[in-house]
């Protein structure tokens, strides 16, 4: 019996200490890209959430337009990719809006009108946009949210940041051999909890938010 008590206490002790330690020590902020940080306006976390929300809503509209353009030009796989990333941005927008409400604000659902060019240019612009978000904007917003101990904003920011990195990678891959994307290939899966986007059909668990396969939507 004594051994049992010792075992349980040990488990509880370690679990408690680790959780407590984590709550007091904020994680290391990600590296920032100096050039773009200067252009970034950092406000309060609620303002940052709104800025991110506008960005995500705009990205969604932009990618839907890019998708239509890609289909029109015959780059069917790129069309599919943009539909998937648009769905991902929509998930991010939903989470950000919810966070704003949680923090007492009222989300404004405005999006910028998309500017559509050729599919190659659209992909290049998309890489730039995503890279800016995942290396500059979100790391800075996360840092601020941690300073303000705004837990409600942390996971939407982190989830979005992780997904944007993936999007940029998919766009870059498409650019490497644009002609090949005229043939339809893999389908994309989007995590409806955090927006993580993947082409791994066998995925069982979201590596970002740990949501199960059931929470992934397949974009065709």
């Amino acid at each position: 019996m004594k051994k049992l008590v010792l075992c349980v206490s040990l488990f509880l002790g370690i679990a408690g200490m680790t959780i407590a330690q984590d709550q007091t020590a904020p994680a290391e902020p990600a590296k920032e890209t100096a050039v773009q940080t200067e252009e970034l306006k950092i406000g309060t976390t609620v303002e940052n959430l709104q800025a991110a929300l506008t960005g995500e809503l705009s990205a969604k509209e932009r990618y839907l337009a890019f998708s239509a353009k890609a289909d029109e030009e015959g780059y069917l796989q790129v069309g599919r990719l943009f539909r998937a990333t648009a769905r991902s941005e929509e998930v991010h927008a939903g989470r950000l809006a919810k966070s704003i409400e949680k923090m007492g604000g009222t989300p404004v659902m405005d999006a910028q009108k998309p500017e559509v060019a050729t599919t190659r240019e659209n992909l290049e612009a998309a890489v730039k946009g995503e890279s800016y978000e995942n290396t500059t904007m979100y790391p800075a917003f996360i840092k601020k949210a941690e300073e303000e101990k705004a837990e409600a904003a942390l996971y939407p920011f982190k989830g979005a940041m992780a997904a944007e990195e993936g999007h940029a990678r998919f766009y870059s891959e498409a650019l490497k051999d644009l002609e090949a994307t005229k043939q339809l290939g893999v389908e994309y899966l989007v995590c409806l909890t955090c927006g993580y986007t993947t082409d791994d059909a066998a995925i069982q668990k979201c590596p970002v938010c740990e949501a199960p396969r059931e929470k992934f939507e397949t974009v065709k």
Binding site: F11, I19, Q23, A152, Q204, K205, P212, E214, K215
Partner: protein, 439 residues
Amino acid sequence: MARWTFAALYAASLVVPAAIWNHNHAALTGLDSAGLKLAWCRLAGLWAVIVVLWQLLFVSRARTMEQTFGFDRLTRFHHYNGFFAVLLLLFHGSLAIMGHAAKADLTNMEQITDFWKIWKYMQAAISGQVLFLTVTLFSIGIIRRRLSYEAWHWSHLAGYLALALAFWHQIFHGRDLVDNAGQRYAWIAIQLAAVAVLIWGRAVLPVLRSFRYRFRVEKLVKEADDINSVYITAEGLDSLAPRGGQFVMVRFLAKGFWSQSHPFSLSMPPRNNTLRLTIKSIGDFTAKIPGLVPGTRVMIDGPHGIFTARRATGKKVLLIAGGIGITPLRAIVEELLADKRQVTLLYNARNEKSLALRQELESLAANPDFRLVLILSHDETWAGEKGKLDEEKIARLVSDVAEHEVFLCGPPPMMAATRKTLEKLGVKPEKIFTEEFAL
């Protein structure tokens, strides 16, 4: 196998999954609060399953375990280990809710609904968790005492269902298992192995034995108020080698009986291919015993227990019986006398009518090596010893008690009190043998 071997196996069964978990979460320190909750949730879940598998092994009647610890101690392990399992399950469940809720920006209640509605196999897992909690609740002393053995028994069977219900969510949601096929197969294998040991010991062996020994009810004999002896015949019983003092799990294959097996002591050393069980009517099942028809087929699981004359190594042996606890001791007396020991039996019962097996005990007392003292607690007209078996009585009736090895059997509170008294009177704890299930 030595006790420490089992202790080491138990420890290893927790340490090995913990090491694998630790390896899988090498970046544990880099996790945020929700990530940490989910990491600990996984360890609690892995441990809970291991601990539940031990639950199965403790009651699997595996011979090596039973010979090492004795059935009653294994049952006690099962009891406490069960609470440990539920504690881990509670941690697992609540950490899963809090961790996933934080990651998905949901409230804890929303997360529970999410688990229920969207997550595959989580309805089964949640139902399993609730069943485990119910089983545990029914095993807490204060509630257990208010339940009949039958109600408790049926509730306990739900534990197996709970284990099955919880299985699939481990495979589909447990990150350590999802990410690594080797670990997943090993995990499935150990669960199948534990279940196989259980099924072998609890179902296959008793059925095989029943075919081999062809147990049947031979006759019933009324021994005292509410106490009946059931004589069971068998073929080739010698090879089963039951010993007086051991007990068997009995399932009578007759209407109203077959669905449950109950433990009963052998109340005389097995002879002439006959076993005798002496049973007091104290519950729904035992109340039906007088209605058993000779010729009824019987399934027997056992014999179990290490409460036998073999434990005695010295010359002087004291046996203390409380109420129906006389049954295994009656069988042990005979074997001890055959072994030329000096035996004293203090038999404490309520009144003359409740004295079971009195006649045969008195005829055994013709042997000069056997001294029988009957003590009645609720019988003022009794000419012999009256009242409870307390320190004064033991010291007076067995003046050299410290030189004895003691076999003790009776209701648990009586056994606990008597054990204390005996130790106070100088009997070494390791010289006191008990069997809580030998009733």
